[in-house]
């Protein structure tokens, strides 16, 4: 019942969005090339699917996204586990993190392009930065939040590092870390597009720039929709994984 309701909500919500688009299209007097109708964007989407550019660009973007996001999560969790156990060190690291964190990853873009040139690296680096801070900080917080009884049990049974981390700290902190990993996927996906618009010659972000250069607003809008849909799917996958983890970790059945 709840599922059904949410499907209904989603359909209505998207229909209203497309309705507003259609009305805006009808009342505005831009040319079709600059402001296409939903139907024209749909045709552009079909065109991209049939000529294979969409699949190719999705593949390119997903490759960069996976590398950047996964490596960022691994490094951030690893560092977070260490820093969470070293509050004395974290006290000195934290101010620097707080300084770097509010800087939009896009601000790094020109610098990264200067260093690495246009290509695969800038987009990967920007995704890495986008996911890094939220995952690192949520891992440190998760480690600090561990029920002290686990650490007491570990020391009572003589469990030492590295087993302490693998057997106690990581699993005990994992539900909260998983939440950080889940939230970061959205942020990272947002910045993939920014990264590809500035620092790449391929991928979904580049396709938007390319469409603008060719004055193909229909392709541009269709690509934006695809980016949104992939974002929802990524979030859904991680939400599902997070739920599974919480359940396996003794949360609500």
């Amino acid at each position: 019942m709840k599922k059904l309701l949410s499907v209904k909500n989603a359909v209505v919500s998207v229909a209203v969005l497309i309705g507003i688009w259609q009305i805006a299209y009808m009342v505005s007097d831009y040319s079709d090339a600059l402001f296409p109708s939903p139907y024209q964007a749909f045709l552009a989407l079909i065109e991209m699917i049939t000529d294979g550019t969409l699949a190719e660009n999705i593949g390119t973007s997903m490759f960069r996204f996976s590398i950047g996001y996964i490596s960022s999560v691994v490094v951030a969790v690893f560092l977070g586990l260490i820093l969470g156990r070293l509050p004395g060190v974290f006290k000195y690291v934290n101010p620097a993190l707080q300084l770097l964190r509010p800087i939009s990853p896009t601000a790094w873009m020109p610098f990264i392009v200067l260093l690495f040139g246009i290509g695969e690296v800038p987009a990967i680096v920007i995704i890495f930065i986008a996911a890094f801070f939220p995952v690192l900080l949520s891992t440190v917080a998760a480690v600090n939040n561990i029920d002290p009884v686990y650490l007491k049990v570990a020391s009572n049974f003589g469990i030492k590092q590295p087993a302490l981390t693998w057997k106690f700290i990581l699993p005990a902190a994992f539900p909260q870390i998983a939440n950080g990993i889940h939230l970061a996927v959205g942020t990272a996906w947002i910045f993939l597009v920014a990264g590809e618009m500035v620092g790449a010659q391929s991928g979904l972000g580049y396709q938007i720039i390319d469409a603008r250069n060719n004055i193909r607003a229909d392709i541009l809008l269709a690509t934006i929709l695809v980016i949104g849909v992939i974002g929802i799917i990524l979030d859904g996958i991680l939400k599902f994984a997070e739920k599974k983890i919480l359940k396996a970790w003794g949360g609500a059945e």
Binding site: V149, Y150, K152, V153, S155, N156, F157, G158, I159, K160, A163, K167, F168, P171, A172, F174, A248, W249, G250, G251, E253
Partner: protein, 257 residues
């Protein structure tokens, strides 16, 4: 020299500039194989004393020695059972019980055999593959007890282990704990604020008072008293302890060692 010796133990906390004396010159001797209950109202320092014995906390002054050695940190020879069980929710029952065996140098088969043996001892055979969340509170505490026994400790510390359980479950666990303590011949230090629980389980009851935390007296429970909760002997000792909490110490010198 006694097996466990607490000498002039002092512990203070300062909070908002106000000093609380949690343990005020506490001295206590415990022999090997004794079942000791630390009994007293909430806040009288029972957990603090137990944690100092178990090596989780340090004293401000005084000393705690076990078998002649100063207690400095937790040891796998002295296992603590907590009120909230301390089971790892991501491990099933049997792998929770095997936890302490993993740090030891024994084969997988050996660990498996040991874990099953102690699960049977606490009455949980057939529950090996369950997860803690699929067990009742009483069953979870049984798993924690099996996990503690599996590493063959000399001493078991228990801090209000049955405090979160309903009365019937609690009595069942008390029965089993008494049986296990006799079969396994462990020294057990058991914190409780339940007078009947203390009388039922203990060889000696250490009666504590708060502000400052101290030992008021030590009540020896004659062996025959514990057999059944409705016997004359049991009720007699229980009444004595009740009266102790009503501040009538002097008249009961004969129960004070």
């Amino acid at each position: 020299m006694a097996y466990i010796e607490v000498k002039d133990a002092c512990r203070k906390y300062t909070q908002n500039g106000k000093e609380t004396v949690v343990l005020d010159n506490v001295s206590l001797e415990i022999e090997k194989g004794e079942f000791i209950c630390l009994l007293g109202p909430s806040g009288c320092g029972k957990s603090t004393l137990l944690n100092s014995l178990a090596g989780f906390e340090r004293l401000n002054s005084g000393s705690v020695t076990i078998d002649g050695k100063e207690v400095e940190k937790p040891s796998v020879k002295n296992i603590t059972i907590f009120q909230n069980y301390g089971l790892l929710p991501w491990r099933n029952v049997i792998s929770n019980v095997k936890l302490g065996l993993e740090a030891k140098n024994i084969s997988k088969e050996e660990a498996d055999k040991t874990a099953r043996k102690f699960l049977e001892l606490v009455g949980l055979e057939g529950f090996e593959k369950r997860y803690p969340r699929q067990l009742s509170g009483g069953q979870q505490q049984r798993v924690a007890i099996a996990r503690g026994l599996a590493v063959d400790p000399d001493i078991i510390f228990m801090d209000e282990p049955f405090g979160a359980l309903d009365a019937i479950t609690r009595m069942k666990l008390q029965d089993d704990m008494l049986r296990i303590s006799r079969e396994e011949k462990k020294t057990i230090i058991f914190v409780t604020h339940d007078i009947e629980e203390a009388v039922f389980l203990a060889d000696r009851i250490v009666v504590m008072m708060a502000d400052p935390g101290r030992i008021k007296s030590i009540v020896k429970v004659p062996a025959h008293s514990t057999a059944d909760r409705t016997s004359q002997g049991f009720l007699h000792v229980r009444d004595r302890v009740f009266e102790l909490f009503n501040m009538k110490t002097e008249e009961y010198i004969d129960y004070v060692i």
